[in-house]
Amino acid sequence: MNHAPIVPVIVPALVAALMLIDRRIGSQRALAWLSAVLVAGCSTWMLTLAADGWRSVYLVGNWAAPWGIVLVADRLSVLMVTLTSLLALITLATVQSGWDQRGEHFHPLMQIQLMGLNGAFLTGDLFNLFVFFEALLIASYGLLVHGDGSERIRAGLTTVTLNLVGSALFLIAASLLYGVTGTLNFADLALRVAQLDGAGVTLAHTGALLLLTVFCLKAAILPLGFWLPATYGPAGPAVAALFAVMTKVGIYAVLRLFTLVFGASAGALAEVAFPWIVAPAAAGYLLAMTCALAGTDLRKLASVLVMASAAFLLIGIGRASEASIAAAVYYLPHTTLSAAALFLVAGLVVRSRGERAGDRLLAGPAPLRPALVGGLFFLSAIAVAGMPPFGGFIGKAMLLLAMLPDDGLPGTIGTIGWLWFIILAGSLLGLIALARAGSTLFWKSDGPAAPDAGSVSWRDALPAAITLAVIAALAIGSAPLQRYAQATAQDLLQTDALIDEVLTTGPRPGPHQPSPQTYR
């Protein structure tokens, strides 16, 4: 059995525990790098395997599904884990400058968060999805208030309350589904949900839509997304960059659950969620882009753009055709990394304009090293807005093309026209907001540099530059990524092979298990 799928979960967990034994910052940093490099290597290796159609069902306790806990590494989850490990490396590079020493336990919290993220992407059952959600959330609260500040505490209190209510809904939904099907394993749920009838259908339907509500809360979709700017805005830039992947957990969960369990073959409950997704996502996209116009500082602006990107991805997922899901999967790594880049640049802007002006979008003291900081801002703004030459442009074009009626989708030309209008108008609004931010920050200076402004060295700018380089690499290597996204969409819509593989993978024979037995 290939043990690679457990590595992204267990290495951060072990490293976090080790860090509590030796609390010196030097050894914590060394351990954090060790863990990040190990996980990144392992997940990249899995990514190359998955590109050729590799898939792994890992039985954690050596019990066959659906009795034991399983991890499933397929194209989608491996892509998400690789993206997370990349962001972890970027965040680590950023906090080296001393941000991790502003409060205690930065590194252990980050490791727990990585464990939660990777676990949520890899898990094969609903209850472990809940557990990993909680693990990543509890760590994210710690990271959010790291470095203190009463605004952060206030943001933390609201976020925690909201997410606890979300967790309660998640538990109700999960136990409803368990009550009618008697299982929590995704693959097994898919089979059982299709066989439901009578009251069972109603209860499972309730459960499914409750789960959709919870995932939309995590993904910050209208009308559940207003916590996000309040939370990400005050967070430190490096932390916000890591958080860029957190809303994507909600997106991933929608994509996974509503294609696998409530997909086309779910009988009476086939595709229950998709009709509910597109309209709020489209409205949310337009609203977020409008809010971007009113952004008061660069981090708030970046936060509402994160909301917009989540909404954009959900439009693609909600259309539920192979082409539109492929477009969403293609767009996902690009948009996550560009949001992270924008948050990192916001950190640099604060540094170069001094604490008082910070990244507020008002004329202020001239930034130090305007060419370097401004250049990075310019590039990341292009990436976030989805303009050529970066790959966001291709992702948006893929989604617009995927909506054309000739691929047999339901929907009149009117709906498609509206969606085209919303996507194009929203992108334009985003572009205007970013252009306005850039010209205010870098061109409208009304005096000499602030006394507390720090010169941004190349070393400080390196994480943002690396992020932008990766985004550029994604654009250059567009064709392989496009093929990967296409194959992922096919996998997601044809679930039989995955279900079969999960339920027929038998435990390894060992001293206590003389006869391997499987469920089917």
Partner: protein, 124 residues
């Protein structure tokens, strides 16, 4: 017993929702606790309500599922209780910190005013 269980869960949930919507963080913490109790009982009841049956197969116990309780919801409840406990502790710490920092325990009090506007070009 079904009636008692269902109305108990309903009343606790309703009380919890009322408290969560109140403006003070102490009420919100209590409300979240009530909600998590209601949810835990709900999970428990999804394994079907049985009286006096253990989730363990012992020698001599009847060979049918009706004489056994479902062990899985019990395990889920245990996990949910532990997670809920940790979350409540964290929430309390945050609430106390906010109280100490801001002098009030309002959960979404208006954010502190923005610092004074930046120097505007002087009007000559």
């Amino acid at each position: 017993m079904e009636l008692l269980m269902a109305s108990g869960i309903g009343v606790m949930m309703a009380g919890g929702i009322y408290l969560v919507l109140r403006p003070r963080s102490f009420d919100v913490v209590l409300g979240l606790n009530l909600i998590s109790y209601a949810v835990n009982l709900f999970i428990f009841s999804m394994g079907r309500l049985t009286v006096g049956s253990a989730p363990i197969v012992t020698e001599g116990s009847a060979d049918t599922l009706t004489s056994l309780a479902d062990p899985l919801p019990q395990a889920l409840v245990l996990t949910a209780i532990v997670i809920g406990f940790a979350m409540t502790a964290l929430l309390l710490v945050l609430a106390v910190r906010q109280h100490a920092a801001g002098g009030n325990d309002l959960i979404d009090a208006p954010a502190p005013r923005d610092p004074a506007p930046l120097d505007r070009p002087e009007v000559r």
